[in-house]
């Protein structure tokens, strides 16, 4: 099976009439994803890509029975769109929008508390279950159905690693872009737990980078629970520009541990296999799966 999405996933697109919304909705329909409608305030009652368009998420959900909304709304209204979907109790919201202001995400996080919605993203490439469901902007063609779960903070690296995994003869159960922004929905650890609980996932690849503390939190979880499947991690940013790495006061909060080396040490001491270089992730997973078998 897969995580987050399955054969019953039905999707509406917020921002369906925009350039990105149109392009990717069409690509998803072509892939076989069940896209059942779109939302665009003021355009309710019309059709776009031969899909019904609604004024609100609530009406789209009521009319189509969709259980997933993807957000392609530009940054100035993206947070409001996410909050609308959360208030409409959409079970899964996948936000693709890049460059959402961080203070807006504080308000979105506030709206998520106590609700039923799982938010993936923003600044995510989306979710791909090969051959089953594509929600998002990822390149397709290199993916292959299989048993490796990929969770990532980076869209382009996910495409790269997906191709590597397929090239060594393995495939993917699901690839999930949890989002590259500092504040986002589904956390690295929560996504990892979903993979652990998925019987079709036999190994997990984690793609992390400098900034934040999610890799450290995941390492702590893995050290504590000792999952019995291979985990390979790639953490990029060891040689990021000095001015990007320079901690200002953010370091006070993050405990000065958020550089790449600190993340790598934390994951390694938790028993995770560290990919020596970005081009070796697929091969290292292949070897880890051989040992495991």
């Amino acid at each position: 099976m897969s995580i987050l999405v399955d054969a019953d996933t039905t999707v509406i697109c917020q921002g369906v009439t925009g350039r990105s919304g149109t392009h990717y909705s069409a690509a998803m329909i072509e892939y076989g994803t069940s896209v059942v409608g779109g939302v665009r305030p003021g355009r309710g009652g019309s059709r776009h890509l031969s899909l019904p368009v609604f004024d609100t998420v609530a009406s789209a959900k009521a009319e189509t029975g969709a259980n997933t909304s993807m957000v392609f709304v530009p940054p100035d209204n993206a947070a409001a769109a996410m909050i609308e979907a959360i208030e409409a109790e959409m079970p899964l919201v996948v936000a693709l929008t890049e460059r959402v202001p961080i203070q807006d995400m504080i308000r979105v996080s506030d709206a998520l508390r106590g609700g039923i919605t799982t938010l993936v993203g923003p600044n995510s490439q989306g979710i791909l279950a090969p051959g089953l469901c594509k929600i998002g902007v990822m390149a397709t063609g290199s993916e292959r159905k299989g048993h490796i779960g990929i969770l990532s903070r980076s869209a382009s690296l996910t495409s790269e690693v997906t191709a590597q995994v397929s090239a060594v003869g393995l495939g993917q159960s699901t690839t999930v872009g949890i989002g590259g922004d500092a504040i986002h929905g589904l956390s690295m650890r929560a996504c990892f737990e979903l993979f652990l609980a998925d019987p079709e996932t036999h190994g997990v690849i984690v793609i992390g980078e400098i900034g934040g503390t999610e890799e450290e939190e995941l390492a702590e979880f893995i050290a504590k629970t000792k999952p019995d499947m291979p985990v390979v991690a790639l953490v990029v940013g060891r040689h990021a520009p000095v001015r990007r790495r320079m901690g200002h006061s953010g370091a006070f909060i993050d405990g000065l541990a958020n550089d790449a080396e600190g993340k790598i040490r934390a994951l390694e001491s938790a028993g995770v296999t560290i990919a020596e270089s970005p081009h070796l992730v697929g091969e290292m997973m292949r070897q880890a799966m051989l040992v495991d078998a």
């Binding site: 203070q103 390149a139 503390t213």
Partner: protein, 393 residues
Amino acid sequence: MKLQEFQSKMLLARYGIPVPRGDIALTADDARRIAFELNTEGFAVKAQVPAGGRGRSKGVVLVSSPEEAGAAARAMLGRTLVTEQTGPVGYPVRQVLVEEAVTVDRSLYLAILIDTARAEMAVLAGPEGSEEIEDKLRSAETTIERLHLAASGKPDRADAEALALRLELESRQIPAFVALLEQLASAFVENDATLIELNPLAITKSGAVIALDAKIISDDNAMFRHPDLMALRDEREDDGVEVAAQSRQLNYVRMDGNIGVVANGAGLGLATLDMICAANGRPANFMDIRTTANSLDIAYGCSLLLENPAVRAILVNVHGGGMQPCDTIADGLGIATRRTGLKRPTIVRLAGNNAEYARFRLQNFGVKVIDCPDMWSAVTRAVATVQDMGETR
């Protein structure tokens, strides 16, 4: 976007936050005149660069006459200031702030920032403000108090008073501190700040507060609703180039190596830097092309590389996606090459959507490239190319 100290102080003053009297000087004469007009006994002359650590690097000087203020300004202006926060390249000093010196009875560290792990705004406050705050925190010589703010950003009055007590402020100092905290929080929310730092914040015996230094970083992603802040940016500064690149859907940071890097996606960009360093090469920049960038945006980014005299070779590492296939990036490189008339050995690795078509586009533009099948071969080829050039010189 980082605001300079004087810009930060002007902005905070609009919220009623007290700052020292002073003005900005572009020349030593200006500095002397400003000090003269301040008509007081002590002056601070402060280099305006977007980085901290100035006090330990002679970027902040205290003097006692207008003549000395002029001399201090002369020593700073036109110089490159390197502090432990600027990186080895440093920043040129183009302007200095001349202020009245303030007698400090007690100084605090006070900041508002975003606690990303908790998705909340947080106030951080330390019982002593100084440049050494980070060192002291590391060595546990001082402590920091925290106060988390509601999503609205408004501090709860009782919480703010409790914070003041934990900082051991005296009762007559508390009202001004609480008022300042509210003003600071308004400034934070209304300017989409990710950090506002007052270090030090002076508190006088009589209970007045005054921000002796101020630093504001505003969210680049929120600039669409802050044309007033955008207008403050200085394109001569690195930050200015970075902000300009942002408006063209690129993340660009100059580094001190000689291999120009073009990559799409922050993760692939960082991975490319890591691989170049692992292969003993030195990247000249970090560049991340967002999916929303079109070929003209990308051409702007490629021009930055071509016009950087330190760049000996360009490495293009691209994994094309749905909306930004490889050919969009190839077009950007082609346009930049035509526009600038500059050429550098260009090593490309194109994967994903339209990789094949992108090669044709490059040919059509007359851009000769060294085509590599995977990331690592492209990286090692770029490093070897630069090394060969070094030997033949």
